[in-house]
Each structure stands twice: as C-alpha cells, then as structure tokens.
Subunit: 306 residues, 2 copies
C-alpha cells in the first residue's frame, strides 16, 4: 500500500484560542510531503509531529490572510538556519512574493537555498503542480480575497509484476518496465503473453481536496466528485448561517451538503470559529447531513488506505 495520509497541524480560524492553532496541514504522498497553508506556529507543529523538513519542497497557500500564511517567515528562516540547499516552491494567489520580500531580505540575508514563488490565478481550475506521483489542481473558491482550494490526485501507478510468471517465461529484466506499464510480452516463438497474465493490477489511486476558506459554493461539487477525503471549512454552526454568509464562510451543514453532493468518501471539517467551546456540537450537525464526517484536530493523522 502506498502512503497517502494527512497530518493536521492547525484547524482553528483567525482569532487565537488555546484550543486550536491557525490553518496548516501536511499531505504525505508516498513520502513526499506537501504543505497546505502555513499559519503562525506551523514550524513548531511540524517538529512536534516529527515530520522531516527534508521531504518538504512544496507549500500551497490558499489565500493571503494572516491565519493561513504568517508561519511562512519563520519556516523559511528556519530552513536557512538548518542549512537547507534544496529549492523551496511556494504556490499562492498573486501578491505573496511582494509581501514577503522586505521581511525575508532583512531577516534571512545570506540564504543557503532558493525560494521560488509561483502565483496562480484564482478564477479557473488550473493544474499548478505535477510530478510522477500526483497532480495538484486549484479549486476556485469564494472568500473575501482571491482564494483557491487544492485537489491532490494520485496518478495511476504501475502494475505489480508477478514474479512467478516472469520466472516461468524467463522474461529478461529489460522488459520489466514496459510490462509494469501495461505491455504484453512476445515469446521467442511468437506466442503473445497478455499483460494480465504477467501482472497484478496497479494499486488504487487516492485523492484529497482542501477547501478553506469559502462561502457555501455548490458549483465546486463537480470538481470534488468521489474524492477519498474532503477537508471543508465549517467555521460556523448552522445557527450562525447569516454570519457565515456575511463573512464568506460556511456552516457545518453547508460543508456536509458539499460532501454529500460530491459523493466524497469521507469529510473532515475544520477552521472552527473561536466562539465554539465544544467542537462536538459542530460534528453532530455535519453528521446529520453527511454521516461519514470527522472533526479536524491538531496533530491528528488521517490515513487513507482503502
């Protein structure tokens, strides 16, 4: 089973409380780490969860509000202190580089590594990252400033070689990669051995969608269809639906409705307003619409393994 798991570093909203930390999480896809948002205190949470700094090369920032990005200066500086040499790539809506520059120029002169800012448009779903393992596509959201969620989609893996069959047909090693990719094999006598006889199916691919912050936006359900895990903000309880709309946030019921309409496998709600002392009330509300819902929680690890 290939690793696909999410660590929640912070799931509170902007007003500080002692119950939650501001937004940040780390998605681990086959031991490559992808950070999503970076609120104040993220670097410490990262250490607390014993995540290796060396495996983090990409950070995705949903929007330029402090509770989603004020951890960046500290994280970037710490990488420098640790003598990092690998490039760091930060993906965000327009404006981040300009905003960070004077602070970083002063605080982290003499950098041991390079930071690259990639700024994306927030109007259309756009693939902003791709490697052998996965793609990352923006999910246009609607908040008080330009905002996008992110859809992480694992690529189809290679098939698994059946060692017994390879041995039986005495297939040379040079052919293994093409067989893993789906090719049949032709024996010296011309007989064609179909790929299905030589391999077991590739592992299932996984997907994760992060949607925060946003007003209730039913049109995103198309893009979210069937994802394994959806993190959707639920800043407010149902009774505060008007406040939610006013501040361009969602309620528990709205988050759950999105999950239901998109037929996702599991929903995790977060970005809780500081006004709620008991998050379980929020959970119960969401579950009334979408039963397979869990609460985000600092330092929780959510493993996707089916």
């Amino acid at each position: 089973m290939e690793k696909f798991e999410l660590t929640i570093l912070g799931c509170g909203s902007a007003k500080p409380t002692t119950r939650h930390l501001p937004s940040s999480q780390v998605l681990n896809v086959r031991d490559k780490l992808f950070m999503i948002d970076c609120g104040e205190g993220t670097q410490l949470q990262y250490c607390r969860n014993k995540l290796p700094f060396s495996r983090l090369n990409h950070i995705f920032i949903s929007h330029l509000h402090g509770d989603h990005m004020f951890g960046l200066p500290g994280l970037i500086s710490t990488f420098n202190l640790l003598g990092r040499t690998a490039e760091l790539h930060i993906h965000s809506p327009k404006g981040l580089e300009q905003m960070m520059k004077p602070l970083m120029d002063f605080a982290s002169y003499d950098m041991s590594y390079q930071v690259f800012y990639h700024e994306f448009d927030t109007n259309e779903p756009t693939m902003i990252f791709e490697d052998r393992t996965l793609t990352v596509t923006t999910i246009p959201l609607k908040h008080r400033v330009p905002t996008c969620g992110f859809l992480f989609k694992e690529k189809g893996g290679l098939k698994h070689i059946r060692r017994d069959m390879i041995d039986a047909y005495e297939i040379p090693i040079a052919y293994i990669n093409s067989i893993k990719a789906g090719a049949d094999y032709v024996l010296p006598d011309g007989e064609v051995i179909l790929n299905e006889r030589l391999t077991n199916p590739a592992s299932k691919t996984h997907s994760y969608a992060y949607c925060s912050d946003t007003i209730y936006l039913p049109e995103i359900t198309d893009q979210l269809q069937g994802v394994d895990l959806l993190y959707h903000e639920a800043t407010y309880a149902a009774e505060h639906a008007i406040k939610a709309q006013l501040h361009y946030h969602s309620t528990t019921l709205q988050a759950a409705q999105i999950a239901k309409d998109a037929q996702v496998k599991q929903l995790v709600i977060g970005h809780f307003s500081s006004r709620y002392i008991d998050d379980n009330m929020l959970l119960e509300e969401a579950k009334s619409v979408f039963p397979n819902t869990i609460l985000a929680k600092e330092n929780a690890l959510i493993v996707i393994d089916d």
Copy 2:
C-alpha cells in the same frame, strides 16, 4: 505593594524545539503591560497566560532577527480582528516599519487602529519611553545586527498619607497632593508640621533589565548596577564559549559574571540553544558564579515584591 512582575512567554533561541518558544516576555508595571520581543507564537502565549490585550500599548523589539519579531504580524492582525482602537507603539532598531509594511498593508487592510513605529539608534543608551510610572532606556548590546537591551525603571512614587494625622490636624483635602509630594503643612497658628509626621515613605521603586541577544559585554554592567532583576541571554553552556563568541552570544558563566559585576538582585537566564536537552545543567553553571540565578521558562511569572 505596586505590581511589578514579568511573564516569560518564550525563552528559546532561533531553532525551533518542542521544549521552548522563541523570545517574548511581558512586564507588568502597576497593570500597564510592556511586551519585550515578539517571536512566532507570542499572541497565543499571551492568551494562554490570560494577559489582557487592552493593557498592552507598547512593544519593544531588541533586534530584527526573526525569532524576536515574527510574532508581530499575527499580533497586529489579531488586534484588528478584535476591533482595537487604542494606538499601538512599537519600538525597535531601524528597519522594522519598512520590513512590515507590505505584509501589513495587505493582510490588515482597513485597520481599526493605528500602529506607530519608533525606531531607535542602538549606539548610545537612550530613554525611549517615559510616563508617570516608569522610564525605558536602551542598553546598547553587541550582536550580529544592531541590538539593544532595555532597562525598565519605576519612578519614585508619592508618599503615603497618614490618615490619622491628617484628621488630627484637620488638614483640608486641597493640601493632600502637595503633602504626598513631600510638602510640610503650616497650621493656622503658624506652627509647621513636618512632612515626616504626616506621611509614610513612598513604596520602593523597582527595576528590570533585559539583555538579549549579545556577546559577553562587560561594559554594560555600569548601566545595570543594582537592578532588581536581570534577564541575560545564556545561549550556550560554558564548554561552548568559542561558539558563543563566534555567533555573538553569551555563555552561562558570562551571563552570571555580568550579574555579579552589576550586583543585581536576581538573574534569570534564557535564550537557550536548542542543543541542550537539560536546562538545569545551564542553571548550575550560572549559579556557580552568581547563586541567585533562576531559569527562564515558558509561562513562568516572576514577581518582584521586596
């Protein structure tokens, strides 16, 4: 007894550990709060210690390194979220305003209150703040960037009226303030009542000095003579004296030597390097030179009451 007490919010150094937080502390002088340094996570520590935001109007930043100031964007934004209207004054070496401007312009547009930056020269001791209660004077230090410590000195208070004597001599209320300030009183028949008969002495005044970050700098002891409490950085153990010098930091023994030479009443050491797992070893070293030493610790409250 007038309140004069220090809360340690963070006393680690730049590299994050799960044992300490970066530098910040709050001095409470008669219920006015003064913040000294503001590392990442300070606003949360402030809440954790149940310090009231409304009583904080002045922040003093020792130098422009991230672990002493990366908590500012979050704190400033949170004040805005809370609808603060009182002015906030930030005192620092040159460059902070320019560094913060683009970040704050974007992240905290539409501010409910004004932030004033006061930038001081770091070469000469300078009184940078004064009110009815106290003065704050810079202590020029020597670090890799322009750095100052801060000396907080309570002003002499008014004498305490002896109610019994005022009543006995039937002194009108209009004279009370001048008597508190030290005046004698002349009875209608010309008899002079000396001030000492009418008052008890004013409360003792207190002083606190913060020195971080700095290389061992014996010349500051003049300015520190006899302070009630000295916080001096002790980033390194004695065995790492060469490293300390190289990085413009101090060792435990050097911090204690400063305390001894300045004849301070109590020393608290902090800004511990992440390399030390057991701070008590650092404490024992410092105590070997200056016995009345304590360790800084997150959320510790140090009350000066003699």
